[in-house]
């Protein structure tokens, strides 16, 4: 047994394909289970970008063109798996970088292994604020950081949600969130933002729901009894649809405002017409408003045989993250993670993505300012609204601005 085990272990460690003439990137995330719509859309978006780059011959690294080779790992949204995968990736000698992660816990459990080895990771499409703030400990924090986040961070989102509620002149709101790390941090972010924005909102109920819950009557009745004029919601997945449906049942005609996950098909489809009017910040809206967006959407639909992306935001972010990474490799003229990190912190040329044209998205890491490794700024995020099963721009202004910005 010992022998067999030893052999197995050696196999597992030695087998990973050696890639002397390729840029090796790992794509990780939950590809099975409840968070899979985000993880799998992100992966598919990223693979689309990789396929495009490879079809064009690869990335220009110094004097040769290198194709991108991918390693896929499903973390199943489990911290333990995430930690092991991170260890596995950290042990790969020729790995240039990692793209992925949805669940905050997985990031917290695993990223330290990548950081120890200095392997660049672009965290996308989700993962809560804690995934970056864990490093921003001022003087105690690391001096260099190889983690970059490519997602509208919860601070921006929460700010926009609270702002929207204030703009709409609501005074009383209820907070509903799921019991995961994501939901709980979302709740805390919202509360913080309400304070920051001058305590104009009164919270009449703060309620939780578990993954898999179908009956939200109790939570909603508390909100209703408190006279909530809007429900601010933070969660992942179809439970939020159960909230929308429960509101319809109880005859509550107040809007739902929440994180970007409300734009996923599992909310839109399952809430049906009860989802109409729901508002959420978006980095990408599956509307072919620009040629670039049109091309991306069409290519995605064609490549994966779908008519709608399960999580357009995740797909677009996965796609853009690959292009950012490729640009950094090109600029670094190397597949070495350290050099790629330095290049990412100082991208000379703008990168044209499907979400925006990225001009210097990151700066040199400052342990007291997490923003240096956050790509998204307020202006890249718009408010989306659900209308008849699709996400549209909530404010016509945003649509016009994006079209004009000529990103594309």
């Amino acid at each position: 047994m010992t022998k067999l085990f030893g052999t197995l272990l050696l196999c597992a460690l030695s087998l990973p394909v050696s890639a002397a003439d390729a840029v090796k990137i790992a794509v990780t995330g939950p590809f099975t289970g409840g968070s899979a719509p985000m993880g799998a859309s992100m992966r598919d978006g990223a693979k689309l970008a990789i396929a495009e780059i490879n079809a064009a011959g690869g990335i220009q690294v110094g004097d040769k063109k290198l194709k991108i080779e991918t390693v896929e790992r499903d973390d199943e949204a489990k911290n333990e798996r995430g930690a092991l995968i991170a260890q596995e990736l950290a042990a790969m000698a020729d790995l240039s970088g990692v793209i992925g992660s949805v669940n905050t816990g997985v990031v917290l459990a695993g990223d330290k292994h990548l950081q120890d080895r200095g392997i660049v990771k672009i965290i996308t499409p989700a993962a809560g604020s804690a995934s970056m703030t864990q490093w921003a400990k001022g003087a105690e924090g690391p001096k260099t950081l190889s983690m970059f986040r490519f997602a509208a961070h919860d601070g921006i989102q929460a700010a926009m949600v609270v702002e929207e509620a204030i703009n709409r002149k609501y005074a009383k709101v209820a907070l509903l969130h799921d019991s995961t790390n994501y939901g709980v941090s979302g709740r805390d972010d919202l509360v913080r933002q309400m304070k920051l924005q001058g305590d104009k909102l009164q919270v009449v109920a703060t309620e939780k729901f578990n993954i898999g819950d179908k009956d939200m009557t109790a939570q909603l009745l508390r909100a209703k009894a408190g006279g909530a004029q809007a429900i601010l919601i933070w969660g992942i997945g179809p439970e939020m649809a159960a909230v929308a449906n429960g509101m319809a049942k109880l005859g509550m005609k107040v809007p739902l405002i929440g994180g970007w996950t409300l734009s996923m098909s599992n909310f839109i489809d399952n809430a049906g017409k009860n989802g109409n009017g729901t508002l959420m910040p978006q980095t990408f809206i599956e509307e072919p408003i620009t040629p670039k967006a049109k091309a991306f959407i069409e290519a995605y639909h064609k490549a994966y045989g779908v008519t709608r992306i399960a999580s357009p935001v995740s797909a677009a972010q996965g796609y853009d993250a690959v292009y950012l990474f490729a640009a950094a490799v090109k600029q670094a003229k190397s597949t070495d993670s350290q050099k790629i990190r330095e290049a990412l912190e100082d991208l000379k040329e703008p990168v044209s993505g499907v979400i925006a044209t990225w001009k210097k998205p990151y700066g040199k890491w400052d342990p007291s300012n997490v923003e240096t490794h956050e790509a998204f700024r307020r202006e890249q995020v718009v408010m989306g609204m659900i209308q008849d099963g699709r996400v549209v721009f909530a404010n016509e202004r945003d649509r016009a601005r994006l079209q004009k910005s000529g990103n594309m």
């Binding site: 729901f209 898999g212 009956d215 009557t217 109790a218 179809p238 159960a242 098909s265 489809d269």
Partner: protein
Amino acid sequence: MPASIVAQMAISGALMGLVYALIAYGFQLTYATSKSINFGQGELVMVSAFFSLTLLDLGLSYWLVLPAGLLFGAALGLVVERAAVRLALEQKSEGWILLTIILGLFFFSAAENIWGRDDRPFPTPIPSESFHVFGVDVTPLELSVAVGVLAVMGLIELLKRKTLLGKAFEAVSVDRDAGELMGISAKRTVMLSYALSGTVAALAGILVSPITTVGPTMASALVLKAFSVAVVAGLDSGFGVVLVGMFLGALETLASFYVGSGWREAPGLVLLILALAVRPTGVFGKAAIRKV
């Protein structure tokens, strides 16, 4: 607190509890004949729901899909019996516990890959607009589940009491070998009970899906509750599951409201452990006399 709010919670919870009860029936049916249950019952609910959804997407009418889905469920039940239960029963081992878990894992993974990982809505001709009676909002969808549960319960009790088949169930349940001697094929009876259990799972899938949506994980939370309901009620008590199911559902909602939504399940769990400690065969189960 106005009485109407309490009533609303109790009724919404109890209606949800009927969903647990419906799935719990699937456990009772197989336990009755073979003292075994399918730990992958939730996957049967889910796969049947996906199958029915596929038929609906093909354009078949709901009323055609319903029987087709039920037949499919019965077939799945037979697969479970053949692949995971029969051998263990023949060897008088408890291998069925693991094998049904394993089979469930397989169904889950297959469904993820065949139908995707996303939750999808399940169209139904039953309207979902709520109506207001005595200060309480109820949707026809929820009522349809209630009707389904009661119909199933009625049919099964009728079957058990009035038909020869019911007697065969009872005989095999009491003593497999003696039943065999009386000319009742234990094997066939067990197969039949698994087919019926699969049918009930499919019915649950079709009735519940419009409320819960269809996705690989749709039944994983429900089935644990259903299991609790079945065991607490007593694995041989038909009426018990309905009562316990409604009680548990209502308790969850009320606990969620009064104790805090995070503690929703806690009172039910504590009661459950205590109920089992006091009455191991279930609240409505037949108490067993220790015999030697």
